[in-house]
Homo-oligomer: 114 residues x 2
Amino acid sequence: MTTKDDFEARCPSFQAAIELVGRRWNGAILMAAQEGARRYSEFLAAVPGISDRVLAQRLRELDAAEVLVREVQPTTPVQITYTLTQRGKELALAVQPLVAWGDRWLGRGTDNDG
Amino acid sequence: MTTKDDFEARCPSFQAAIELVGRRWNGAILMAAQEGARRYSEFLAAVPGISDRVLAQRLRELDAAEVLVREVQPTTPVQITYTLTQRGKELALAVQPLVAWGDRWLGRGTDNDG
């Protein structure tokens, strides 16, 4: 059995991870970033149903959490891009199995043999 | 890029999955079950800080979600066991990468190179 110390050490960081990815839209924003979205307009197009205001807020939060990094490109006019950090890339990968589990067990084509 | 349909189909099941594992103690209960806890007293010992009442409630919820199955063993006295269903086994595995991510990026020994 895992020791109590393991659980106690892991619990807060697991809860923080869950809160981060569980916050509405963050999963979809992460997936969009992983699949190539960089510019605000690309995220807006890739994440159906999100409002302008909420997307701006989530991108700020994910930047603050060091999951995405916001960069100003020195073009004319300047372009703002949001790209995954190493932490963000690993988070996007870490979330995939849970997305797949939800798909398989709670999704439309629920294949219920367990 | 993933299509909007993919996101729309996946979003509710992903949110449901996140809510299930994100509910306080459920991650630790899943891990305990995966590592051999079967009886109520074993879960109580394996999950530090959980109260009797809350553990009983979570076990009921996880049974209702078909993640654990509650069985009455025909011993004297009868023994109640809670074991992972196939769905639960896959959920416990699907959560591991997120636990590891939290450990690495938000945990004590944060190794912050990204």
